[in-house]
C-alpha cells in the first residue's frame, strides 16, 4: 500500500518546512518516502507544490493520483483536485472555496492566530494529516525540537496538536518497520559523496538547481576543513577549481546549463593541461534561461562535445541519491587517475527529490590520488607531459619537491610544458591525451537492467528516469509484458555490452528521455548503429513518472 500526499500553496507559505518535517516523521516511522518538488521561479506568490509518496516498499517514482491534499491556496483546488482519488481528502482552510464532499475545512489561520504565530498555520494541516493516517504523534516533538528553538518548536507543537484533534482517523497504513535509513536528495548525495571522496575545494556561482550542492558543502567547511568559495561568475569558478587541482587538492565545481555554457572554454583548459577536474551540471530546461526551476535532460548532446577542440572526458549521469553518492566519489578517483575531466549530469528533478535510501557505506569509498613523489621521477629532467605507453605521465604537485618545477600550459606544449607549434609534438601530445578514452573502457559501469531476460520491448533511458522506468517495467511485467529497461549511468564512453545483449531480439527499442531530440538515442546510434524505433519524449519541464510511462507505452507501443 502506498499513500500519496500533496501540499500546495504559494511561495513563501512555508511548504518546504511542512513537507520536510512530514517526510522526516514518515521516515522515522519506518516508511519509504519519495518526495518531489514543483516550484516556480519566484520567491513569493505563484503556485508551488510538493508531493510526498510513502509506503512499506521502496518507491522509485512519483504518482499523480492523490490520497490527501493540503491546499494552502485557492490554486490548489484548480490544479490538483482533479487528481484526488474518489475517497481522498482535501484539507484546507475555510477560506478556500470548493464544493465537494471530500473537502475537510480546518480554520488553520484562525488556530494559528490564536496561538499567536500566524506562520504555524501549515503545521495545523500537518497534524491533521498524521491523524488522518492514524499515525501516533510520538515523534513530533523530537523532530520539531531538532529544527527550531524552544519557543517556535512549542508553537508548532501546539498547532500540530490542534490540527491532530480536528479530524478523525481515516486511513490505516500497515505499520512501518523502523529501519536505519537516510532521507536525502540527489544534490545532497552528490555533496556527501564529494566529502567522502576527499574533496577539499569547491568553487561555484549560484544557479538553480545546482545551488544546494554549494550550500550544503559550505555548511561543512569548518567541520571538514575544506573551502567553498562563491566565485564572481562560473568562469572564475571553474578556473579556480583548476588552479586548486593543479596545486594538488581535490577540487570540483558545479552549475546548471547556462553556467556550464560559460565554463566550456575552461573544460578545454583542464583537458590540455591534464588537470583532474570534476564538474557537475544539474540540468534545467534551456535554452538560455529556459525554465529555471523545472527539469529536463537536454544538455547531454552539448556536454558530450562541449569545449572547442578535442579533449578526453568522461560523462556520467546519476540515477538516484545512492548512485549519486558513490558516483561522485568515483568521479573524483577517475579524474585523478587519468588526470582528466569528469562531468556528472544531474537534473532538477533528482536534485530536489527526497528519497529514503539505505545508509551509505563509507567503507566502499576510497581516495586514490595517483600523485608522484620525489622517488618516482627523474629529478634532473622532470617532464610533466612525458610521452608514455598509456598516455599518462607522472603528475607531481608544485612546491612539493625541492629543485623540481612544474609547468602547465593552455597552448599546445612539449613534454616539459613549453609552448610549441611543431607538428610532430602536437600529434604526439594529442595522441597521448586521447589515449585515456581507451583506458577508460576498463572502468565503465554497464547500465542497470530491469525486466525479463529476453525483452520484446526494450526501454532505454538515463539518469533520473531510473525511478520512473523501473516502476513502469515492474508494472508492465506484472501484466505479462515481455519488457525490460536499460538505464544508463555512465554514458561517455558508452558501455555497450548489455545494450547489445538486450537489443538483439527486441522488436521495439524505445528511448525514454526528457528532451526534444532524443539525445541519448542519437548518441547510441552514432556509437553502435543501434536504432531506437520509438521514442517517448517529454520536455514540458515536468518529470516523466512511472504511470505516465506505462500509459504512453500502452498508447503508442504495446
Amino acid at each position: 500500500m502506498k499513500y500519496n500526499i500533496l501540499i500546495g500553496g504559494s511561495a513563501g507559505q512555508g511548504m518546504d518546512t511542512i513537507s520536510s518535517l512530514l517526510e522526516k516523521i514518515l521516515q522515522r516511522k519506518g516508511y519509504y518516502v519519495f518526495s518531489n518538488k514543483d516550484y516556480m521561479s519566484r520567491v513569493r506568490g505563484g503556485h508551488n507544490f510538493i508531493q510526498i509518496r510513502f509506503g512499506n516498499e521502496p518507491i522509485y517514482s512519483y504518482d499523480d493520483k492523490l490520497d490527501i491534499i493540503i491546499g494552502l491556496d485557492q490554486n490548489s483546488v484548480e490544479f490538483h483536485s482533479k487528481n484526488l482519488k474518489k475517497d481522498g481528502v482535501f484539507l484546507c482552510d475555510d477560506k478556500i472555496k470548493w464544493e465537494d464532499e471530500r473537502r475537510i475545512t480546518i480554520p488553520m489561520l484562525k488556530i494559528a492566530k490564536e496561538i499567536g504565530q500566524a506562520r504555524v498555520f501549515g503545521t495545523v494541516g500537518m497534524g491533521a494529516i498524521i491523524k488522518l493516517l492514524s499515525l501516533d504523534d510520538s515523534k513530533i516533538e523530537e523532530v520539531f525540537n531538532e529544527k527550531w528553538d524552544e519557543k517556535i518548536a512549542n508553537d508548532n507543537i501546539e498547532a500540530f496538536n490542534k490540527g491532530y484533534e480536528y479530524v478523525d482517523s481515516k486511513y490505516k497504513p500497515k505499520k512501518g518497520e523502523a529501519k536505519d535509513t537516510l532521507l536525502i536528495n540527489g544534490n545532497q548525495a552528490i555533496a556527501l559523496g564529494a566529502l567522502a571522496g576527499g574533496l577539499s575545494f569547491y568553487g561555484a556561482y549560484p544557479m538553480t538547481p545546482s545551488t544546494s550542492i554549494m550550500t550544503y558543502l559550505s555548511t561543512k567547511q569548518n567541520d571538514a576543513g575544506i573551502v567553498v568559495e562563491q566565485a564572481e561568475d562560473e568562469i572564475a569558478a571553474i578556473n579556480m577549481a583548476i588552479g586548486a587541482s593543479f596545486t594538488g587538492v581535490r577540487a570540483m565545481t558545479g552549475t546548471s546549463g547556462g553556467g556550464f555554457s560559460l565554463m566550456t572554454e575552461a573544460l578545454g583548459l583542464a583537458g590540455i593541461t591534464e588537470t583532474p577536474l570534476v564538474t557537475v551540471n544539474v540540468q534545467r530546461p534551456g535554452p538560455a534561461t529556459g525554465l529555471p526551476t523545472r527539469t529536463e535532460q537536454s544538455d547531454l548532446s552539448f556536454i558530450l562535445t562541449a569545449s572547442h577542440g578535442e579533449i578526453p572526458r568522461m560523462v556520467l549521469s546519476v540515477k538516484n541519491p545512492e548512485d549519486a553518492f558513490y558516483q561522485t566519489a568515483r568521479a573524483l578517483n577517475i579524474a585523478d587517475k587519468y588526470q582528466m575531466l569528469v562531468i556528472i549530469l544531474n537534473d532538477q528533478f533528482l536534485a530536489d527529490a527526497n528519497q529514503t535510501v539505505n545508509k551509505f557505506d563509507f567503507d566502499k569509498v576510497t581516495i586514490e590520488r595517483h600523485i608522484s613523489g620525489e622517488n618516482d621521477i627523474n629529478k634532473d629532467d622532470y617532464k610533466r607531459y612525458e610521452i608514455t605507453e598509456n598516455g599518462l605521465s607522472k603528475r607531481i604537485i608544485p612546491g612539493k619537491i625541492e629543485g623540481v618545477t612544474v609547468l602547465a600550459d593552455s597552448d599546445e606544449h612539449d613534454e616539459y610544458g613549453h609552448i610549441t607549434e611543431e607538428s610532430e609534438v602536437r600529434i604526439s601530445q594529442m595522441d597521448k591525451r586521447m589515449k585515456r578514452m581507451e583506458l577508460l573502457k576498463d572502468e565503465l559501469i554497464e547500465p542497470d537492467y530491469f525486466g525479463v531476460d529476453d525483452p520484446e520491448t526494450l526501454l532505454i533511458g538515463w539518469g533520473s528516469l531510473y525511478g520512473g522506468l523501473r516502476e513502469a517495467v515492474e508494472t508492465l511485467k506484472d501484466d505479462g509484458e515481455k519488457i525490460g529497461a536499460l538505464i544508463f549511468g555512465d554514458i561517455y564512453p558508452l558501455p555497450t555490452k548489455l545494450l547489445e545483449k538486450y537489443s538483439k531480439n527486441a522488436k521495439n527499442i524505445v528511448n525514454v528521455e526528457q528532451n526534444f531530440n532524443g539525445q541519448l538515442a542519437k548518441f547510441i546510434r552514432q556509437e553502435t548503429g543501434i536504432h531506437c524505433n520509438k521514442s517517448i519524449l517529454k520536455y514540458d519541464g515536468r518529470q516523466l513518472y512511472g504511470k505516465e510511462i506505462v500509459s504512453k507505452l500502452q498508447e503508442e507501443v504495446l
Partner: protein
C-alpha cells in the same frame, strides 16, 4: 642572502620582439626572486594569454599559463590549495583590465595573497596592435583607425577604489626599481598590484621608452603611501604632468583572504589535509 639568479634561467626559446619592454620585467622578476632568497619550486607564476602572459616559459619556476583574462582565478585556487607557495601573476593590460576585469575587481575585494604584475603596454601585443583598456583616447591603432573612442581605464585609481591594499607603479626600463617593487609586493600580506609601464616596440609607437622616460618620476622618501587622500591624487596623475612611480598606496593592517578563512589560517596548507572517507560518515546524521 640571495639564491643564485641562474637557477631561474629557462632554456625555452624566447618569442618576444627584440627590444620589447617585457625583457626588463623578466630580469626584474629573476632579480627579485633571487634577492628574496626564494627557490624555483617555492614560486608559482600564473598567467593568462598575451605576450606578457608567456613569462612563465622564460623563467624556471612553477608555471600555470591558462586562458585569456583568467590568470587570477587559478592563482586564487592555487593560493587556497597551498598558502605556502609564493604566487605571482604576470599579465597584460588587456588580459587583466579587459577580458579579466571581473576577476580583477573581485580578487581585490578578496585581498588574495598574491603579487599581480600587469605589463601595461597600452596596446594588445599578441593580437597585433588593437587598443587596450589603457590606450589613450584618440590614439590611432591597427583597429581604431579614427582613434580610440573610449576613455582609458585608470588601473591605479580603480584598484584603490575597490580597496586594494597595495598599489604600485613601476617602469620596465628601470630594473632596480621594479625588482624592489616586486620584493615589496611579495612581502605584502594580501593583494599587491604593480602596474608596469612596458613599451611595446612593435605596435605602440606613441608610448615608447622615451615617452615613458621623459614623464616618469619616483615618489620621494617623504611620500606616505598610507595617506589615502594623497594617494588618490597620485593615482590620477598621468601623462605630461608626470607619472609617479613607487608604492602609491599601502594598507599594512589588512587581513589577507586566507587569513579570513579559519580552516586555512589555523591549519597546515589545504594540500596537506588528511582525510579518509570514513571521516565524512558523521555527516550522514544530517539526513537521519
Amino acid at each position: 642572502m640571495a639564491t643564485d639568479i641562474k637557477l631561474f634561467n629557462s632554456n625555452d626559446e624566447n618569442a618576444w620582439c627584440p627590444g620589447c619592454g617585457n625583457f626588463g620585467i623578466l630580469n626584474s622578476l629573476k632579480k627579485a626572486f633571487s634577492e628574496a632568497n626564494l627557490k624555483p619550486h617555492q614560486i608559482l607564476l600564473c598567467s593568462g594569454i598575451g605576450q606578457a602572459a608567456k613569462t612563465p616559459h622564460y623563467i624556471n619556476v612553477n608555471g600555470f599559463n591558462g586562458l585569456h583574462g583568467r590568470a587570477l582565478p587559478p592563482a586564487l585556487g592555487a593560493n587556497i590549495a597551498n598558502k605556502d607557495l609564493k604566487i605571482v601573476v604576470t599579465s597584460g593590460d588587456g588580459d587583466t583590465y579587459g577580458e579579466g576585469g571581473n576577476h580583477f575587481i573581485h580578487n581585490i575585494r578578496r585581498n588574495i595573497d598574491i603579487t599581480h604584475l600587469v605589463h601595461d603596454n597600452q596596446i594588445y601585443g599578441l593580437t597585433k596592435g588593437q587598443g587596450s583598456p589603457t590606450t589613450a583616447k584618440g590614439q590611432v591603432t591597427s583597429m581604431q583607425l579614427d582613434g580610440v573612442r573610449v576613455d582609458p581605464f585608470n588601473p591605479i585609481a580603480t584598484a584603490m577604489t575597490m580597496g586594494a591594499t597595495f598599489v604600485a607603479r613601476s617602469f620596465s626600463g628601470d630594473v632596480n626599481h621594479l625588482s624592489e617593487m616586486i620584493q615589496k609586493a611579495m612581502e605584502h600580506k594580501g593583494y599587491a598590484l604593480i602596474d608596469i609601464l612596458q613599451p611595446c616596440v612593435t605596435f605602440n609607437k606613441v608610448n615608447t621608452f622615451k615617452w615613458y622616460k621623459d614623464r616618469v618620476y619616483k615618489l620621494d622618501e617623504n611620500y606616505d603611501p598610507t595617506d589615502k587622500d594623497q594617494a588618490f591624487k597620485k593615482a590620477n596623475e598621468w601623462g605630461d604632468d608626470g607619472i609617479p612611480l613607487g608604492i602609491i598606496y599601502q594598507d599594512k593592517e589588512a587581513i589577507s583572504f586566507n587569513d579570513r578563512i579559519p580552516q586555512i589560517r589555523d591549519n597546515k596548507p589545504l594540500v596537506d589535509r588528511e582525510w579518509s572517507p570514513k571521516d565524512a560518515s558523521k555527516f550522514m546524521e544530517d539526513f537521519r
